[in-house]
Symmetry: C2
Amino acid sequence: MTSPTEQFKVPSGFRLGSTTCGIKQSGTPDLALIHAPEGAAAAAVFTKNLLCAAPVIVGREHLAVSSGRVHAVIVNAGNANCATGDSGIAAAKKSCEAVAAALGVEPTQVIPSSTGVIGVPLPLEKLAGGIRPAIETAGDCPNCAERFARAIMTTDTRPKLASASIDVQGRTATVLGISKGAGMIHPQMATMLAYVITDVQATPEQLSRILGPVADRTFNRISIDGDTSTNDTLMLLASGKSDVSLESRAAQMKFGKAVEAICASLAEQMVRDGEGVKHLVKLQIQGARSEKEAEQIAGTIATSALVKTAWAGADPNWGRILAAIGRSGVGLDINKVDIDFGTLPICRQGRPVPFEEAQAHAYLAQPEFDISIRLNRGSRQITYLTCDLTADYVKINADYRT
Amino acid sequence: MTSPTEQFKVPSGFRLGSTTCGIKQSGTPDLALIHAPEGAAAAAVFTKNLLCAAPVIVGREHLAVSSGRVHAVIVNAGNANCATGDSGIAAAKKSCEAVAAALGVEPTQVIPSSTGVIGVPLPLEKLAGGIRPAIETAGDCPNCAERFARAIMTTDTRPKLASASIDVQGRTATVLGISKGAGMIHPQMATMLAYVITDVQATPEQLSRILGPVADRTFNRISIDGDTSTNDTLMLLASGKSDVSLESRAAQMKFGKAVEAICASLAEQMVRDGEGVKHLVKLQIQGARSEKEAEQIAGTIATSALVKTAWAGADPNWGRILAAIGRSGVGLDINKVDIDFGTLPICRQGRPVPFEEAQAHAYLAQPEFDISIRLNRGSRQITYLTCDLTADYVKINADYRT
């Protein structure tokens, strides 16, 4: 898999466009387009928040009406088009109609996405004015992918991309993932917006079967601040323009692994770029009875203000971690819990073991570290990505609007 | 009810003592004693965290063995005696034995309480050295109550007291409440330590019947940072030294109301003194189908990092509140939700109403404000107290130990 610093190949059958239409006050690019001239099979996972944005509602409807065959995805940043009522729904539909008219396809073959501030009417005229430039700039050059990634950013400081190629019986297919999101990030469908495009041959049903479990193991195992976005969207689009089909079980496995690796990379990039984040924390929950209980414990630790602020100070205050485990709702025996910071034993059977405070502090002072928690009650394990809670996070979010 | 600035009458039958035994590194008072020379009926509510501190385990046992008849409560600050294993249990018991020996009572008639850092062995010798001075300084002077309140503080910046007197058929009884807690505060039994003492005549069972519901309506409806302490303890002690008994339903009602008013006052004082708190927020949840669902929604709002940081910036970002409601797990219709900031309408039926941004900002810039949320699906309502999340909270908690 290629890393974020490399250039990214756009899979055959897709063109990525982006432009500045004036929705963001910063004057930076804020409109992006995925165009599949001959169409693509599509599957999506959306937010589970009851307050879901107009583009999520319209996107679900369009995917159903078009039976998962789409020609374009139009994405704006700077405005979430959420809590905007019937006029918000109408605006999302009109943006699809405008794209459809320009491309000569059906409006239901266009999926809308929005990200940004909640409760402000979508400036439809600005968006409409950007559609033609977005189409005209669309292409399959490596820079097109990075420009697309930048145009969907809000409080992100870096574009987020990952790609992979898979080889099935001498034939090659490409998978490219692009995402954004730095705040309001927590499971129940996590990332705000993520698109994975590929040139494999696949049906919407095949894509859907792959996407759900992948989302659960990647984007649904990260937390920056515990808030679930209203606009969370993960889409998987397949143009079928490569020679690789998903007929064989082996091809399905290879493709599924590539999609999962890309989603895992994007998820990690999002946490790394989380608002105010100084430390990326990998929680290794082991010895659980189920992945669900491991997620419940990891989620409680990852949303504990006391734990996250201790991490901000590289403070080896493991008691806060144990207290979070104790209130997670999992009925475990706290006297069986072991905790390690990296390879440093910190807690055994719920009680502290002697450790060098300075050594533990130095370990936690690193920009990235592992915390292993063994529940010693089963054989399931997960990795969950999270981060610290810093004064910078507070500053970013106290000053977002006013 | 008297306010925190006034002097506080100690109910008959109790003596309050305090001293500096050297557990706190700051060298400030850190040991406090409630002494009921002729005994008191007692009831208690403890933390629901599975990681519960040794004094909670021992306190539960002593209350059971003594059938709710106690002679003393010994409280230390600076060390939680939590995650300290069997030696922690032994230390808590030994502290009770030392108090019992000095007072000539049974060890099981003494209840231990601790608050402070987790996972560090309780310095028993220091504590034991303070028992005699605590007994000798104990008295019923008004200053005794405030000194007791100061001796149990950790990151609190102010002592927290409230008192009331009740009048039943011309007879008067006194109720006095003292608490501490400024971080790790969230329902499931909320405050870290709170003691309500009174001279009414009551059985442990009568006290218990009153205390549970009062805790649910007061301490369990506040949240500072969403973390549940390992040491949370609320005790109600009655010496029976007044002429007021709880035989009549009217007397029970009056006494219950006085205890609730005191607990509500202490709970509010705790949120006001929350770590880094700049704004006290009263969430009024109305039109709910049950108090439980209202609490679930209030709890989600009160623990949202995005909502709390917006409050820190006096940012009228109501969309974050609506998004928190949407992910609360209550299956409501988000299009029926109304939100007001004080008397200023902000959101009607899930959508924004035009409001003056500057006016809303000025309202939220106040040190205390109300947010009313009408769910419009039932007739139950609650008030829930919470606060903002500031950069100061992060600083306090990032630097707590190291």
